[in-house]
Symmetry: C2
DNA sequence: ATTTAGCAATCGAATATTAAGAGTGCTAAA
DNA sequence: TTTAGCACTCTTAATATTCGATTGCTAAAT
């Protein structure tokens, strides 16, 4: 494609505009970037470049006589081709290290700590979603009786996830029944992905015993609920920070934002689609009509060895401080994965 | 107090103004309520009453030449003295009944269902908080080992609460140690309030055995975390609905709202302070500077017999449809408590 | 004594007018 | 290829003007 052949100065101009706009949230004029940002030309020269950058769709003009604003395409080019890595300050590094030094009992603890820290440092809203249930291998299923008519089911997976739920019955359940449940479910499901615990599988397991319909139904229902919840669980952090951004002065944007946070499906889809081993950047489409159009999302996968432990991400305005966010993410990502692998090696 | 001696017409005028304002969100003029709302006077007469109602602080004037708006004091008088109960429609009753017919395994299930339903019917944001830990009696503490170095603690309370957490150790823990833990904690804590599980108590218990410091510390930490989480747990439902309200056009109000939702302490304080056996209404103070000032909160306690199962409430603009909200709450409250008592009787 | 009609006065909100200024695009010169 | 110069565009802010809703008060009516 022609448009990718930006000459050196045009690249600098685009970069300067994006960075200036990230800082000020105001349209950028030719004069504002004719000096500085590694440029030293007259505003007329810059103007020419800007016109061409607009032609090929990297810039937009809010109105005929005001400065330029990066288009979604412009942001994408900036992120993928022009972004120069930011360095974290020593304080930031110290802070992250401190916050991540949590005692990890469940994988959620670490995820939570990372999410909170990310939000605190960037001041954007952060989100974490767990690994999909088909990526998690069951290590153990344990039925524990809590009194005659109450049972707790605990499922432990290879990702360190421990999920449990309570089941109540209208009739008594005996210790030997509990033992049988433990045997049955473990032999059938250990080593299988979590998503395999579905209704058909449970019915199949129950076909081998003849418990009352009430008991079976209650167990199947609750176990399915675990899997379901696991696939739809989203952790949100620092949503209120976003309301300080200038773009939130527009009620439309604010509303899109709360709608976005509420649209779990849309969110899950984005969060589950990124590459592992990399920072993924989604930039809202200018002429999209979804809730996403005003926002960008940056995510990374959190892994242990080659196991997917879920995705952590950030939601902010398209005018986001990409350099900073990506730098923080890279650092946190590295740190987490280091910790995980140390732990694994023990 | 003099001001409480409103003559009949003034009461009607105040009521009409509040109701009109609830509907329209616009200042109410004398003309708008001179006919209807059980009134039939000239606007001049109403005007006189309005002036007096303003004098005694029940009404405010946004500016000299526009209609009146209820003050916080006016709302309070309206709610406590003038409110006429609303009736639910048959559909609403049917809907609530359907939604509350959930299988309750944990008390949270019912609370969640009630909270969601309340939000769906009123379109306001709803909140639920559990009973404080000092109101919950421990029925059982159970340690369950999940592999050599992982333990799960389950605490069951008289409110139907089942809380659990995972503890990981750096060293092995034996079956007999687990048995001892079970005995020790149960004999010491069964029948005691949940809040009694604090650091001193745990340390006292541990003084009777000599487990490694690592094990003891891990257990104490995690158990305390359960209690702590229980006291700070807030369920939020339908927050995004609020963004459709006209008052949210003001960015200041919107920001106060997200801040309020984030200020868990402030929230918990209000939610934990209401009377049992009643619907409690808090109306934000006009000249308060807290996040609350633009909002009202209506709560009720959710009980089983005389046990407090927590508080469910609604947060909305001061211009809230009190009649509707209170009617729905009363119905849901009655329904829940019926169900609970039926269950208890079984 | 209460209520109401009538009316001047007030003030906000909407609309129009103007002025100022920021920024562009283009042309012609450097 | 770059730049100075300048006319043109369009936004924003400031100012003025109009319009109408609503009030408060007074004097008349009930």
């Amino acid at each position: 494609m022609k448009k990718d052949n930006l000459d050196d100065r045009k690249k600098k101009v685009l970069q300067a505009i994006v960075e200036e706009y990230i800082n000020t949230a105001e349209p950028v004029s030719s004069g504002a970037i004719s000096k500085g940002h590694g440029l030293d030309y007259s505003s007329a020269t810059i103007r020419n470049d800007m016109a061409q950058l607009e032609n090929i769709g990297f810039l937009d003009k809010p109105h005929t006589s005001s400065g330029r604003v990066p288009s979604a395409k412009g942001y994408r080019y900036y992120v993928h081709e022009l972004l120069k890595e930011d360095n974290l300050s020593l304080e930031e590094i110290k802070y992250i290290q401190k916050k991540l030094k949590v005692k990890v009992n469940e994988i959620e603890d670490l995820t939570k700590a990372a999410t909170t820290t990310l939000s605190e440092i960037t001041h954007y809203t952060t989100v974490a979603v767990g690994p999909k249930s088909d990526k998690q291998i069951i290590e153990e299923i344990k039925f524990v009786s809590l009194g005659q008519r109450m049972l707790m089911v605990v499922i432990v997976t290879d990702t360190g996830l421990v999920k449990e739920t309570i089941i109540k019955f209208d009739e008594d359940i005996t210790d030997s029944q509990v033992d049988t449940l433990n045997n049955l479910f473990n032999t059938r499901l250990k080593g299988k992905p979590l998503s395999k615990i579905d209704k058909p599988m449970a019915e199949y397991i129950f076909s081998e015993v003849n418990y009352s319909v009430g008991i079976m139904k209650a167990i199947i229902e609750q176990i399915n609920k675990i899997v379901d919840e696991e696939d739809n669980n989203i952790i949100l952090e620092g949503a209120k920070n976003s309301f300080d951004l200038p773009e939130f002065k527009s009620m439309k944007v604010a509303k899109n934002f709360v709608n976005l946070l509420d649209a779990k499906d849309e969110m899950l889809q984005i969060f589950n689609s990124g590459d592992a081993e990399d920072i993924n950047v989604y930039i809202g489409d200018d002429d999209d009509n979804s809730n996403l159009k005003d926002f960008s999302i940056i995510t990374f996968k959190h892994t242990m060895g080659d196991k997917d432990l879920g995705t952590i991400g950030i939601i902010g305005p398209k005018r986001m401080d990409y350099a900073k966010v990506i730098a923080v993410m890279k650092y946190i990502s590295k740190k987490i994965n280091e910790d995980n692998n140390k732990k694994e090696g023990m």
